[in-house]
Structures are given as structure tokens and as C-alpha cells.
Amino acid sequence: MVGLLPLRVRGATSVRRGKVLVGPVDLDLSGAGTTVVMGPNGSGKTSLLRMLHGAARLSDGQINWSCDAREARARQAFVFQRPVMLRRTVLENLVYPLCARGETRNRAVACARDWAARVGLAELLDRAAPNLSGGEQQKLALARAMIIAPDLLFLDEPTAALDGRATREVEAVLQQARAQGTQIIVSTHDLGQARRLADEVVFLLHGKVHEHTAARVFFDTAQTPQARAFLRGEIVE
């Protein structure tokens, strides 16, 4: 099976109602574990992730995966900043993506129980998902994304609304997924989280990629003044 990466993005732009959300973006992702997309609010992190995932319309430019675009799409999963819960039980939420792909019900349920246990939701399988707490919902969303064993996982500020403990649990799942070879693209404006997770960093400002380097290089010797200011904790505009 051909891998998804390297990914080649050329001049990709996403426009909505005449406003450029992100782009034009030139980016090459070759598959170095976890890519962290950083930048202040409104810099286009969410739009970039959605555009790469194919959830936002590509107004201009090209996004080329190493395999067929349809196939690439089927091998990705996305975790939203505000988790979307199906109005069903936790178990049914986990089973849903598998059954939608034609998996048999029995195998889907077994897989769902396994993933619920991995993210600490085993006790809550029969609860209605929309009634869970914010942290539980985000863990469920992560498990629901991981359950299809995606080759590439997008996460849009997955821990922005979570406390320290829930953040640690989410990051543990991500580290484990990375160790098993899943590519991860995660956006965050939490510097600590970026340092913990990143193999490489994409620094985004005003909808454009300002820097794209290995994590070590970025955190020690960022090239652009804006990135250095951002790393110092200053407010970048």
C-alpha cells in the first residue's frame, strides 16, 4: 500500500465569502511523526487543517497526496476543537465510523470497547454522549477518530478547553499513536504542548506559512522575528 506522504501543497488558498482564510500556502510534509501547526488566534490554523483534510473548499492551488485523493481522504481522521457528539450513547458514537465503512457490528463493538478502555471511558459506554463533560467528549472524539486506524490524524487544538489531567491523557494517546506510525498534524497555541509533541513545526501568521522546520531548530533558533517573539510569549499581530 502506498503511503499518504509526502504531501505536496502548492499555492493552496481557501477563500470564504471573499475573505482569504488561509493561503497561498506552499508546504511539503514528508512524514516526520508529529507536525505541530502554531500561530496566534486567527492566523488560519483551523482553516489550514480543514483545507488539507478536504473539509474546506480549495479555492486555488493544489494539494497532492502520494496516493489517489479519494483514498487519501478515507485514510484520514479529524478531531475538532469543539467535539461534535452524535446524539447517541458513547458506544454508538464509537461504533458509527466503523459501521459506516461496512465493518460488521460485532467487530465494531469489540473495537469500540477496546478504544473506550484506552481513553478511560469504559465505564461510560451506555451514557448519552452529549451529556458527557468537555474532557470526556474530547477523549471520545479522539477515540472515534483513532478507531478507524487512520494513517493521518488531524487535531485542531484538541486540548484548548481541557485541564491538565485530561490534556495529559490526550497527549498520551497521541504519543502512542505516533509510536505506532500514525502521522499526526496538530494545531495548538500552547507552547508547552508544542514542545512535548512536535517533531516539526509549521509557524503560521496571517494565513501564510512563516516557518517550517524541525522542532529542535524552531524552538532554539527560530528564523523570523515574529516566530521569536511568539516563542518569547509576546503578543504577535
Binding site: 483534510h53 473539509a55 481522504r73 479529524f78 461534535v84 452524535l86 458509527y96 459506516a100
Partner: protein, 234 residues
């Protein structure tokens, strides 16, 4: 005031004696309306889901039309169905005029826009909530529609009950296409119209009270079966 008491007494008498005619027309009312409801919901609910999920050129127009047709005058529907089913009409060979089937056809036409419009409102809200997730999961159009229909089933029950309410109390269309024939197409509403015309207000009121009681009973039964208020908020 005296008429009202007489009406209550008539209703009581009819119920206690289980009047054979009353049982017959009540069962026919239920048969016609519930058949129309099942067929109408089977058309309207998938249509509503389709309108929520698909973007096509005339979508807004179709939705506006459905909303407008919620107020479709039953008499006109009855008239059109009459013309279509009459001997000289295109479906005359079927011999359906003045049968319960013709009444069901007319009622389906009346309630489909109503059920579809109300259902579409709630499906549209749910779709805006689910949109990103289902797009991301790459599910097919029919899977999207099925997911929406299943996850908003409580709201769809309410939409269907609105359709039931409109159909059970409807008289104009079924009077025209059914003909209010005794032992063939007489139902509660047409019987009330007849008794009123004859000047037997007590009987008419008695039937009216039974009709209201029937509508309430069916609503309660469906809510109880669906356990609408018992759990969750959907």
C-alpha cells in the same frame, strides 16, 4: 348550553352502549388517517432529510413551496383528486372514487408538505451540528440521511403527530372524494357534518367529543410508545 349537555350525554350514551355505527365509523377514521400518516411519513421524512443534506439548484424553491403548501386548502385537494379519479379522469379505470383508498390519497397529499416542512426544520438544525463530522468521516449521502433521521427521531415523531392531527380532523377533501357513504366511506368528521346538517346537534356534538378524545388518545399512545418525555432530550 343545553345542546352541549345533550351532546355530552349523547357521547356518553354512544360510548357506553358501544354503538355499532359509532365503532364502525371510528375504526374507519383511524384506518384512513393512520394509513395516510404511514404513507405520508414514508414520503415526507426522506424528502426532508434529502433537502437538509443535498445542495441543488432549486432547493430553496422546493423548501419555500413546501412551506407554502402547509396551508393547502383541503377542499381544493379533494376537488383535484376527485377530477383525477373520476370516471373520465386519467385514473378513472382504477375505480377508486368514493372508496377509503381515495380518501387516503387525498389525506396523503394534504399532510406530506406539513410533515416534510416541520421535519426539515429540525433536520436542518441537526445537520448544521453534524455537518463537519460527517463530511470528515466521508460517509455517503444515504448514510448522512439515515443518521439524521435516526438521531432526530423524537422531533420527527412530533412532525408526524402534527400530520395526524391535520388528517384526523379533516373533512373537506374526504367529503368530496369519499362521498360520506354510510357503511362505505363515512368517518367521524363527515358524520358530524351530516348530523349538523340534519339539525341533530346532540349527536353531532357527541361524535365531536369522541373525535377529540380519539385524537388525544392516539397522541398519548404514540408519546408513550416513543417514551418522549421519559429519557434524554431528543
Amino acid at each position: 348550553m343545553g345542546d352541549l349537555w345533550a351532546g355530552l350525554a349523547a357521547a356518553f350514551r354512544l360510548l357506553v352502549t358501544l354503538d355499532a355505527d359509532l365503532v364502525e365509523i371510528t375504526l374507519r377514521s383511524l384506518h384512513v388517517t393512520l394509513s395516510a400518516l404511514v404513507i405520508g411519513a414514508a414520503i415526507a421524512l426522506p424528502l426532508a432529510a434529502f433537502l437538509a443534506v443535498r445542495r441543488f439548484r432549486w432547493r430553496r424553491g422546493v423548501i419555500a413551496l413546501l412551506n407554502a403548501l402547509m396551508g393547502l386548502p383541503p377542499v381544493v385537494v379533494g376537488l383535484v383528486v376527485y377530477v383525477l379519479l373520476s370516471r373520465s379522469g386519467p385514473f378513472g379505470v382504477l375505480g377508486l372514487l368514493f372508496t377509503p383508498t381515495a380518501m387516503i390519497v387525498a389525506q396523503v397529499i394534504i399532510i406530506v408538505p406539513l410533515i416534510a416542512s416541520i421535519a426539515h426544520q429540525s433536520l436542518r438544525d441537526l445537520w448544521s451540528e453534524y455537518h463537519d463530522l460527517l463530511i470528515s468521516m466521508n460517509v455517503s449521502q444515504s448514510q448522512k440521511m439515515r443518521t439524521l433521521l435516526w438521531d432526530s427521531r423524537r422531533a420527527l415523531l412530533t412532525a408526524s403527530l402534527a400530520g395526524f392531527g391535520r388528517a384526523i380532523g379533516e373533512v373537506g377533501a374526504i367529503m368530496i372524494v369519499g362521498g360520506n357513504i354510510d357503511h362505505a366511506t363515512r368517518v367521524l368528521t363527515t358524520a358530524i357534518a351530516l348530523e349538523t346538517g340534519k339539525g341533530d346537534f346532540a349527536m353531532a356534538l357527541g361524535l365531536g367529543i369522541i373525535l377529540i378524545g380519539l385524537a388525544i388518545a392516539v397522541n398519548l399512545a404514540i408519546h408513550w410508545l416513543g417514551r418522549t418525555e421519559a429519557e434524554g432530550r431528543w
